[in-house]
């Protein structure tokens, strides 16, 4: 199970408490995790990525294992610790955007 930590406002929007747990079939990449997250919680579509371009919103960032993955391409595979569920994948409302 992939553990995803959402920021406060997106947890409220998706009506979830704590972490979201996702089962991702195939390669665990930035894109596949976000695809599954949005499939499970359609209300989040457009709030993390643009509806059409799927580009990350400027003030949303992706962290995992103390690394900033925000600027990595969507096909980037997430660390083994995230795939195994030992570490969460963090979606963060950023202090500064780009």
């Amino acid at each position: 199970m992939i553990r995803v930590v959402l920021p406060f406002h997106l947890r409220n929007l998706a009506r979830v408490d704590g972490e979201v747990q996702l089962e991702v079939i195939g390669a665990v990449t930035l894109r596949s995790v976000l695809d599954m997250l949005e499939a499970r919680h359609p209300v989040l579509r457009g709030t993390i990525r643009d509806h059409i371009t799927l580009k990350r919103r400027p003030f949303v960032r992706f962290f995992a294992c103390k690394e900033d993955l925000s600027l990595e391409p969507p096909e980037t595979r997430l660390p083994d610790e995230v795939v195994s569920g030992t570490e969460p994948f963090l979606i963060v409302g950023a202090m500064a955007g780009s």
Binding site: H9, P42, V43, L44, R45, T47, H51, F59, G93, A94
Partner: protein, 325 residues
């Protein structure tokens, strides 16, 4: 209903407006640009919720604001039907096109947020949305999906230029006597009208003068209109608070006349018409475009009972109390 940068509040009064109940903040921590109920189904309320981090969200209540949901975000009760999460998907029709940018170059239209939600006068599932960058969208399925009425941007959109507050359709007025007539207003572009249900639009800015803001004070578009208002009994009469100037039209916008009269200053933002008296209008004068505070530091609503020109400050205690509530 009150929208703030920190959330939304719903104030409910007893019949005499002596006692009020306040619920909220709803959507705490989000900017609430507009909330409005359906005239045909008053418990149906639409709300525009936005954030610099997470973008646009459309919310809908079917029980007068007690509970809310995004129209296309929660699973439907019908097995096998899955929501698409498209109630916040606002995509300009066709070629995106360009408008005038701050430096005079052309700049592509970019959706930012919904400023105004205007429910239909006859159908609770039909709503018009005024958005930034300036355009008008329409839903006919209760907010699940939105489609642009692109004819508006054809009305010299390439000449529209954002002001300091952006470039948004901030006002939508539906004519209760003519379902094909809609008025809209755009900050830093002007007022526009359609007479065919939104297919074609044209500027209705004749009589507006902007000598301090535009190289041509009588330009067809480019005027910074802050708000327009209408009384439903006389949909051809409109009142306008421009950047500077209070104006009225008696012919659906074909010609505007200055009715600032004896106001201490005619700069301001809101304007509205009394619910039952079509010639009674209200404004809140602001000292100037450079000093955004009321004259003498006293927040005062001014009222005209003559449709403009003759104004009085509402300074009596009873009036102050009423305004405060």
């Amino acid at each position: 209903m009150v929208g703030t940068k920190k959330g939304a509040f719903i104030l409910t009064a007893d019949g005499k407006r002596h006692n009020w109940e306040v619920s909220g903040p709803h959507f705490a921590g989000w900017e609430m640009y507009h909330l409005k109920g359906s005239p045909v189904e008053p418990n149906r309320i639409y709300a525009s919720q936005t954030s610099g981090w997470f973008g646009q969200v459309i919310q809908r209540s079917d029980d007068g604001g007690k509970s809310w949901a995004t129209p296309d975000g929660v699973p439907a009760p019908v097995p096998g039907e899955f929501p698409k999460g498209e109630s916040n998907k606002f995509v300009y029709e066709g070629e995106v096109g360009t408008h005038k940018w701050y430096d005079g170059t052309q700049h592509p239209w970019e959706f930012k947020r919904v400023w105004h939600l205007e429910p239909s006068l006859t159908d609770p599932d039909t709503v018009y949305a005024g958005v930034e960058d300036a355009a008008i969208f329409k839903t006919v399925d209760g907010g699940k999906t939105w489609k642009e009425l692109p004819g508006l941007r054809v009305a010299k959109g390439h000449l529209w230029q954002p002001g300091a507050g952006g470039m948004a359709v901030h006002t939508i007025l539906l004519d209760p006597k003519n379902p094909n007539r809609i008025y809209i207003a755009i900050s830093a572009a002007g007022a526009f009208r359609t007479d065919d249900g939104g297919k074609t639009w044209w500027p209705i800015n004749r009589g507006l003068k902007s000598p301090y803001e535009l190289p041509d004070p009588d330009a067809e578009v480019g005027h910074c209109v802050h708000r327009i208002a209408m009384h439903p009994s006389r949909p051809g009469v409109l009142f306008m608070q421009k950047h500077w100037d209070i104006l009225r039209t008696d012919n659906a916008g074909d010609q505007w006349t200055d009715v600032g009269g004896n106001l201490p200053t005619d700069f301001g933002f809101p304007i509205d018409v009394h619910a039952h008296e079509p010639e009674t209008i209200y404004v809140v004068p602001i000292k100037s475009d450079s000093e955004h505070f009321p004259p003498d530091g006293k927040l005062r609503v001014y009222r005209s009972r003559t449709g403009g020109n003759e104004w009085e400050a509402l300074t009596k205690k009873a009036c102050r109390r009423r305004i405060a509530t």
